[in-house]
């Protein structure tokens, strides 16, 4: 007979199930990337996911740590990293990205739960800084006409000259990195995550609302801003990463506000066309402070008057 401390029962949630839910939520966007950019998009997703799992396995194996690939978090990181790459990227760069994400940003800091920033974001930023040209060699959509290796401006760059039709933006038939173009697929995944209670809508909603409001104030078209660039991908899948986002509702709102303001500041007034990944990285670093300042108030814990 067992003798243990209470509580004697647990609910049926698990880290693995949460990660599986995220993977399921990413599926519509994976499918969309295949349709928009062709088979090479799917190959990239497969390669980064496999490389991420392999790096995690090898790291744990050589450092004689428990093998943690079963929790599926490496798969999620791999897919998200691929989503941040253009379909034209050479595979070795994608694999290097997986190495940076898994080994440098995640495992060296202690593995799942200990990373200070979102591993996929770190991977993307390292690649973007190291291979600026190749990282922005956006492919034209495969429909119609197949993958075109010619570089094209993303809508964010393009909007400074000409506007794309909103419907095209929503469906994702335009240049960009793999996972960011199809707003419809990303939203579908986001709704799934909220319904499954994997994420709270607080971060994406505040983030997007802030971007919309700041765009309006800055004289930009809010809908174009919302639907273009990596905003939806970042807001739904990257900013909601548990480890690097605040715990409480208040904290999540503060975090979303910060993300929105920084993203707009970079987009409108800095030299870079896109600001989502830098905004997330910067806010990741502030999370410990946000957590400290937005702690919930215990029942009966109010100061005596």
């Amino acid at each position: 007979m067992l003798v243990k401390a209470s509580p004697h029962i647990r609910d049926n949630s698990s880290t693995q199930r949460i990660m599986l839910d995220v993977i399921i939520a990413l599926c519509p966007a994976i499918l969309a990337s295949g349709i928009i950019f062709g088979w090479r998009a799917l190959l990239l997703v497969g390669v980064t996911a496999a490389a991420s799992v392999a790096f995690e396995y090898l790291y744990c194996y050589f450092l004689k740590k428990p093998i943690t690939i079963g929790d599926l978090s490496a798969v999620v990181t791999g897919i998200l990293l691929a989503f941040n790459l253009p379909a034209t990227i050479p595979l070795w760069i994608a694999i290097l990205g997986s190495f940076v994400s898994i080994v440098i940003a995640k495992q060296l800091f202690g593995g799942l739960g200990h990373n200070f920033a979102n591993p996929a974001i770190v991977g993307r930023i390292v690649l973007a800084v190291s291979f600026a040209g190749r990282m922005t060699a956006y492919a034209y959509p495969a429909v119609p006409g197949g993958v075109d290796a010619l570089a094209s401006a993303t809508p964010l760059v393009a909007t400074r000259h000409a506007d794309l039709p909103l419907l095209q933006l929503f469906l994702g038939a335009h240049g960009g990195v793999l996972g960011e173009t199809c707003a419809a697929a990303l939203l579908l995944g986001g709704i799934y995550l909220v319904v499954r209670r994997v994420i709270s809508p607080a971060i994406p909603v505040t983030y997007l609302a802030t971007v919309a409001i700041v765009s309006l104030l800055a004289g930009q078209e809010p809908l174009v801003q919302l639907l273009s660039g990596g905003l939806l991908l970042g807001a739904i899948f990257m900013a909601t990463d548990y480890v690097t986002s605040p715990y409480t509702l208040t904290g999540k709102i503060v975090y979303g506000l910060g993300l929105g303001v920084i993203t707009c500041a970079i987009r409108f007034w800095a030299s870079s066309a896109e600001g989502v990944s830098y905004a997330i990285l910067l806010m990741n670093l502030l999370v410990p402070y946000i957590n400290d300042l937005t702690r919930q108030k215990p029942l009966g814990g109010a100061k005596k008057k």
């Binding site: 029962i9 647990r10 978090s73 739960g113 200990h114 715990y247 509702l249 919930q296 029942l299």
Partner: protein, 439 residues
């Protein structure tokens, strides 16, 4: 009442109800061969044995005298002979004296048993103290101590706790359904002698029959209300219940009386009525016997001191390999080390689980999902407290108010990484308490 979600999430835990015995009529368990009465069946001072080996006792005879202010006397539930007075180890780890009585089967009532003479508040609390009543909902706090206070005028509300939020347990529900007259007359007695203005009978919505019965009984009395509560664990925890019923927050380190409330369990209040009528002290109680390894789940009335093994045998015994036996509910109950251990006054259930249900999944790394923070009914931040605990950060633990933790188990229950969060909270509480003493 709309909760301020910016203040705290306090979502609690959606535990499985498993109220399988909800509609099962209570059956009396036959008198056991032997009973064992540990002198510690309450919070407070260990009672002092008043009998020695060879003494003759009757039903209702005092065998343990209350020692100290916070304490309760202990009485025999059988007539027979004291066959041993020995020291045993109880679940807290402490060693306390225990009186073993071999029953003669005649169940002769002690001739001294007579209804107490209650004429005022003082004689009422004296009677309650003599009855040996402790909180029957599980905590086991001596009722007379709870009812004794310097300034009665601050109390305006009596809350009857019929939430029964732990899974499986239906003993309080059966009290409402089978014994509503005693529940009502107990309420009236406490109301009268303490001069309380309002009474709230708090029942979780998953007990419709109990609510119907009580709604029927209070008709015409505007001072008593039945309050249906959401079926979310831990609705029945004292401070949570007070907040749900009145919106008042018991201050840190304070008591319900600080916000004008007294909370009494429904079975406790029904016992008050029975005691005032007969004078028979607390010698038996209703408990739920259930769980996947129990052959015939039942509600049984058991004499306090009956071995757990006898109770399980009465319910058809266990089936399959038993993984764990618990007294109380699966969220806050205590693992049983030995089934020879007796049923105590505050035990409201005996649950037996097969090994598959008793074993816990392996512990993984914390992913900082914050579910423990959202679940904590007290609005604490378990994941942050765990960090402060690991860093031996005493001022931090004090600032995080870990002392408010009531160990309800929600944080461990909801953790997707299956971490023993509640245990860490317990350790952190102890660390803070010891640290505070050293100063």
């Amino acid at each position: 009442m709309i909760k301020n979600v910016f203040k705290r999430a306090a979502k609690g835990a959606h535990v499985p109800h498993n109220k399988n015995t909800q509609n099962t009529m209570t059956v009396d368990m036959p008198v056991p061969e032997k009973i064992l009465l540990p002198m510690q069946q309450h919070i407070g001072g260990t009672a002092v044995p008043m009998v020695k080996k060879g003494d003759q006792v009757f039903v209702g005879t005092l065998v343990g005298r209350a020692e100290g202010y916070i304490s309760a006397p202990i009485h025999s539930g059988v007539s027979g002979t004291v066959t041993d007075v020995r020291e045993i180890q109880i679940s807290s780890g402490a060693r306390v004296p225990a009186v073993e009585i071999t029953a003669d089967g005649s169940q002769t009532v002690d001739p001294a048993i007579a209804p107490p003479a209650v004429t005022d508040y003082e004689s009422f609390t004296t009677a309650i103290r003599a009855s040996g009543l402790v909180g029957l909902g599980g905590a086991g706090f001596p009722t007379s101590v709870k009812l004794t206070m310097k300034d009665l005028s601050v109390i305006d509300t009596l809350i009857i706790n019929g939430a029964e939020c732990e899974p499986y347990i239906t003993a309080d529900n059966r009290e409402f359904v089978e014994n509503p007259e005693d529940v009502m007359s107990g309420i009236m007695a406490v109301k009268k002698w303490l001069g309380v203005k309002n009474v709230i009978i708090a029942i979780e919505r998953n007990k419709p029959e109990a609510m119907d019965v009580m709604f029927g009984l209070i008709k015409g009395d505007a001072s008593i209300t039945v309050k249906p509560l959401p079926s979310v664990y831990p609705q029945g925890a004292e401070k949570i219940l007070i907040e749900s019923c009145t919106g008042r927050e018991v201050p840190r380190g304070g008591l319900p009386s600080d916000v004008g409330c007294i909370v009494m369990n429904v079975s406790s209040v029904a016992f008050v009525a029975a005691y005032l009528r007969t004078g028979m002290p607390l010698i038996s109680r209703r408990l739920t016997v259930d769980g996947g390894a129990v052959a015939e789940p039942k509600n049984v009335r058991v004499i306090v001191g009956t071995p757990i093994a006898d109770v399980l045998a009465f319910c058809g015994g266990t089936k399959g390999e038993v993984g764990e036996i618990i007294t109380g509910g699966p969220m806050m109950g205590v693992s049983v080390v030995d089934t020879a251990f007796p049923i105590l006054k505050q035990n409201n259930a005996v649950l037996a689980f097969p090994r598959s249900e008793a074993e816990l999944p392996p512990v993984q790394e914390c992913i900082h999902c914050g579910r423990c923070i959202e679940a904590c009914p007290m609005g604490l931040s378990p994941v942050i407290i765990a960090k402060a605990y690991n860093a031996h950060d005493l001022p931090g633990l004090d600032k995080l108010m870990v002392d408010l933790c009531m160990e309800c188990g929600c944080c461990s229950f909801v953790c997707p990484a299956k971490r023993p969060v509640t245990e860490t909270m317990r350790f952190a509480k102890t660390m803070l308490k010891k640290g505070a003493k050293k100063k």
